[in-house]
């Protein structure tokens, strides 16, 4: 009987222990209104960043406030499209963005790639909630070689 009780209580206890370590946005009791944090600022330094996880689309190193991306205009493409990169010196969107899903090349950026913000986002100076210990594959290979 006792054994059963312990077995039953085990998942509850472990859940409680885990709960202590869960990242939370609310560091205050439910009946209190904590001071809201400052709204983080968008980083606008124009410095390209390393990936933060595998296959990550490049992040936007500048502000994109009020960029109009709709049927009429795509403000991102004003600098990043093929015919604008010479004058803007901005990185050109990759050739895959000019391909449809069958791999055919198009004259314009593909409709499924049109809304840049679906994948590419600016970054803010907010403190990360959890640490990122992502290592690039190159780093992993180098570390392995050192071990040997």
């Amino acid at each position: 009987m006792k054994k059963w009780l312990i077995l039953l209580a085990l998942p509850v206890v472990t859940a409680l222990v885990w709960a202590e370590n869960i990242a939370t946005l609310r560091n205050a009791p439910l009946d209190e209104n904590p001071e809201p944090p400052y709204i983080p600022q968008v980083l606008n330094e124009d410095i390209k960043r390393e990936r933060a996880y595998p296959m990550q689309p490049p992040t936007i190193p500048h502000k994109i406030d009020n960029y109009q991306v709709d049927l009429n205009n795509n403000q991102c493409m004003h600098c990043h499209s093929r015919h604008r990169t010479e004058i803007s010196q901005a990185p050109m969107v990759s050739v895959t963005h000019y391909m449809d899903r069958e791999g055919n090349f198009l004259a314009e950026v593909s409709p499924r790639r049109y809304f840049c913000n679906q994948c590419h986002v600016p970054q803010t100076n907010a403190k990360p909630l959890v640490e990122n210990n992502f290592k690039d594959i190159r780093q992993i290979i180098q570390d392995k070689r050192k071990e040997q």
Partner: protein, 197 residues
Amino acid sequence: MRAIRWIKPLWRTLNRPSVHFSLGFLVMGGFIGGIVFWGGFNTALEATNEERFCISCHEMESNVYRELQDTIHWANRSGVRATCPDCHVPHNWTDKIARKMQASKEVWGWLFGTINTKEKFEANRRELAEHEWARFKANNSLECRNCHSVESMDFTRQSKRARDAHAGFLVTGEKTCIDCHKGIAHRLPNMADVEDW
């Protein structure tokens, strides 16, 4: 012919010395009348150069004025904002009068409801925008420069992108503000085949 018959006696009256009024009365009357007329004209002109007047038409209020409210020219960190006439009415008197004469077409448009629905406005958006782009291009973005002068622009406080663009194109005179900053205060029309876009 009939016009000449009408003008002739009028000219004869104007050409002859006054019989009933003294010279002093006429001079003073003309002077005071001039002040009243000129003051009235200027007051009326100023009244039509207020944002209140612009947005008294729903075409302006529910389209372009609403769009402005999403932009940096409406709300920003320093609390300076641009009103309609700051960008759309030249400050220089002769240019202002010329623009006012052009604007009589807009009164016509208002009377006959050329853009009195959202659909009609959207259908004409490109043409309307092109008029303003052409005006800014022709006067070297004068209304931008009334506030944003190159001399007072501190490139060291700009982001790298802004610095490069301003140093490379603005200072050299190769481009003017509107060439790159179209749609800075309102939504853009369909930009297909717009030059340099």
